[in-house]
């Protein structure tokens, strides 16, 4: 997609409903799927779509996120020309300015975009798990000669009122936005992925910045304003796996999705790899006597016990006689002999002591487990 498209990836979200999962890190840095962090999906989509320039807007506890991204080499963004740029808030003569909303974060970095002179700006979120070829969105956008194209997807009717719903005419032209409508008119939800013509976006960002009533949010302010002023806005219908992991339960569910035969987020597809920072660990070792059923295991694990329907991140020791069912275990945990763990998300560096019992197979609760505390949900 060359220099014509610059992606701006919003990665400042706190994700407070994820509780202890985000106590030290921003939501995009939360581990997912056995070896990834959530932001890996958007970053890998961008590099696989051939986007050469991507700005990452950070604000909340960026330290681990920055460590994870490094110079971007995992995603092939360690370039001399273009590549990846982390864009935190900064000061000028008028003093420091924190980002006050999604649109404001992009507004504050107009210099970055101006220098790259893009034709299109793609707004992405670092909170979502999905695989998407942004070229398809771009081609649709070009074909419609749109000012902005919003990626939308069908959600279950019963959940539609949790989303921003987009109403279109028969030619997919957007005629109305409904933000979390109690009675939605349809079930097409905005995915928070926008392809803008840069010239138009630039104009509206400047306008929005001067508007004292605005909270400087794309969904709440900038897009409705554009609609009001009759800009050409289209919806592009995405079909495929997509998840915005909001709560601990949905986090657990999305991980478990990967063990489902019918799961459509195929991580083994070599034509659309998901890249992540390499930890340089040796292969996993499965000992004599171990039992492993329908589970994903990552490098550096040492499995001597029993695993059923579980996802293990790296460097986890499962001692003989320990049993893990329907759980997600983050890196560097030890599950000691005789412990039984059900329906849990176990945080990094946790030791589950001998004969400890967490949950029951059928109890329909999710347990978030750290070394100090267990949260139920």
């Amino acid at each position: 997609m060359g220099n014509k498209v610059v992606a701006m990836l919003l990665a400042g979200g706190q994700g407070s409903r994820l509780k202890a999962l985000t106590s030290k890190i921003a939501k995009p840095a939360v581990p997912f799927g056995g070896k990834y962090r959530i932001i890996d999906f958007a970053l890998s989509n961008a590099t696989n779509s051939g986007i050469s320039n991507i700005g990452i807007l950070t604000q909340y506890k960026p330290y681990l996120l920055n460590t994870h991204i490094g110079i971007g080499s995992a995603w092939d963004y360690d370039r001399n020309i273009g590549g990846l740029r982390i864009l935190p808030p900064f000061t000028s003569e008028e003093g420091g300015r924190w980002y006050t909303g999604t649109a404001n974060a992009v507004y504050e970095n107009i210099d970055y975009l101006d220098e790259l002179e893009p034709q299109y700006v793609l707004i992405l979120s670092g909170d979502h798990i999905y695989k998407m070829d942004y070229n398809q969105l771009l081609n649709y956008h070009k074909g419609k000669k749109a000012d902005v194209t919003i990626a939308v997807m069908e959600v279950p009717w019963e959940e539609a009122s949790r989303f921003g719903i987009i109403n279109v005419d028969e030619k997919d032209k957007i005629i109305e936005f409904e933000e979390k409508p109690p009675k939605p008119k349809n079930n097409m939800a905005s995915m928070g992925i926008y392809m803008f013509n840069w010239k138009e976006l630039r104009k509206y960002l400047r306008k929005d910045n001067k508007d004292k009533d605005s909270v400087h949010d794309f969904g709440k302010n900038v897009l409705p304003k554009m609609l009001e002023e009759e800009k050409k806005m289209y919806a592009w219908n995405f079909k495929g796996y997509w998840k915005d992991v909001g709560t601990v339960r949905s986090y657990w569910e999305s991980n478990m999705d990967l063990l489902d035969d019918k799961n459509t987020l195929n991580l083994y597809d070599k034509s659309w790899r998901i890249y992540t920072k390499n930890k340089n660990l040796p292969p996993q070792y499965i000992a004599r006597g171990a039992i492993v059923n329908n589970s994903l295991i990552n490098e550096g694990c040492h499995i001597m016990g029993e695993l059923n329907n579980s996802i293990l991140f790296s460097e986890i020791i499962v001692e003989p006689g320990a049993i893990i069912n329907n759980s997600v275990v983050l890196s560097n945990c030890t599950i000691k002999s005789g412990a039984v763990v059900n329906n849990a998300v176990i945080l990094e560096d946790t030791v589950i002591e001998e004969d400890k019992r967490i949950g029951e197979i059928g109890d329909n609760k999710i347990y978030l487990v750290s070394g100090k505390k267990i949260w139920e949900e």
Binding site: K35, L267, Y268, I274, Y275, P282, Y285, S295, L296
Partner: protein, 374 residues
């Protein structure tokens, strides 16, 4: 340790490895589920602070270039020092061109330019997690011109016949270097690692070429042993010497010992290699894996026992793999049986095929080879 150049070179013959070295030098052989042999040598150097490393490559240079490239996995893609690959040249003006001395000499500019005063030589076909820092201190403290590293070996089965045998005198003095013919129960095995003062190294190169009396650095050490202060340093850890198909196969299976894998994989720092971004490995309900090392990106539906399975391997339902080394992206279909075998990269073993060798002479399936039932 930034006072020391790392020099990697081997004299092993690829022909001893049968089909698996047809298109790669032996130091490029896959090892331990996700590595190449040379990864251990380079990583150990990097983990001990060496910043300038030169690899004198084999003739089949393409696989080396592809894997080592600019040295990025080892953070050796540096502007100042870093990784240097020297493919063999055979058109300079220095007489005969076999032997490592002519190759070292052809890169004299490299030795002149680099600021390091010492050289650490290493043979990538011998894996040993030497604490290079400790050994270097010994070399410096004893004021030696050359320090050779050896391991005392007990070799009742004669696995190490034809290995270099070092004779150590009192106070670690170097006496001579010969070949182990297994006449003694124990011998001191020179493991291809040595420290040399750079100026002495250069002097030996020039002398050897001017005198015309040797083409190999190892021979020059014997030749000049009274001229320089040469001593020895004992290494006490695990050593794998990969000289032929059998020792290659055995070295892989040895990794199933917890002590050996812990030492080789973790001691003194991680082993770096070119990353392939495979997802985690999936074990289905029908899988049964026992005492095996499994790399990422595999889908395992069958039985695996006492084996090393590399990245992206697929093992079908009812398949049975035992005492085998299965390299990257191989596919073993349903109900196939593979015992005592080495399967090279991207081999295909069809449904119900039954192959097997002996534990002393594994069955080899060459790269890209397909075996299907007639």
């Amino acid at each position: 340790m930034d006072r020391c150049l790392g020099i990697i070179t081997t004299l092993e013959r690829d022909s001893n490895f049968g089909g698996i070295c047809k298109n790669r030098p032996s130091y490029m052989l896959p090892f331990g589920g996700r590595y190449r042999l040379i990864d251990f040598t380079i990583s150990n150097m990097v983990n001990h602070g060496l910043r300038t490393i030169a690899v004198y490559t084999g003739e089949k240079i393409r696989s080396t270039m592809d894997h080592l490239g600019d040295g990025k996995p080892w953070d050796l893609n540096r502007r100042i020092n870093g990784l240097f690959l020297y493919p063999p040249i055979n058109d300079n003006h220095v007489g005969t061109h076999f032997g490592d001395i002519a190759q070292f000499y052809s890169t004299m500019e490299f030795f002149d330019r680099t600021r390091e005063e010492y050289i650490f030589l290493s043979n990538p076909n011998i894996i040993a997690k030497l604490n290079i820092g400790d050994a270097f201190r010994f070399f410096i403290d004893t004021g030696a011109d050359i320090t050779l590293i050896y391991r005392e070996q007990l070799d009742p089965d004669g696995n190490l016949i034809n290995c270099d045998k070092i004779h150590v005198g009192e106070d670690n003095v170097f006496e001579n270097l010969g070949v182990n013919l297994s006449t003694e129960k124990r011998f001191n095995h020179y493991i291809g690692m040595a420290f040399v003062k750079k100026d002495i190294f250069i002097k030996i190169l020039k002398d050897s070429i001017e005198q015309g009396n040797t083409n190999y650095f190892k021979d020059a050490i014997i030749l000049y042993k009274d001229k320089y202060k040469i001593n020895t340093y004992e290494f006490k850890g695990h050593v794998e010497t990969i000289r032929d198909l059998k020792s290659f196969y055995k070295a892989n299976l040895n990794l199933l010992s917890k002590d050996i894998s812990r030492e080789l994989f973790f001691q003194g720092g991680a082993i770096y290699t070119k990353s392939k971004d495979e997802p985690s490995t999936l074990y289905t309900e029908s899988s049964n894996v026992q005492n095996s090392l499994i790399a990422n990106g595999c889908v395992i539906e069958g039985d695996v026992e006492n084996s090393i399975v590399f990245r992206g391997v697929k093992i079908g339902k009812g398949a049975f793999i035992k005492n085998s080394v299965v390299m990257q992206k191989s596919v073993i279909e349903e109900n196939a049986i593979v015992v005592n075998a080495v399967l090279d990269k991207q081999t295909f073993i069809g449904k119900g095929v039954n192959i097997g060798g002996s534990i002393l002479a594994p069955y080899v399936v060459e790269k890209y080879q397909r075996i299907v039932k007639e």
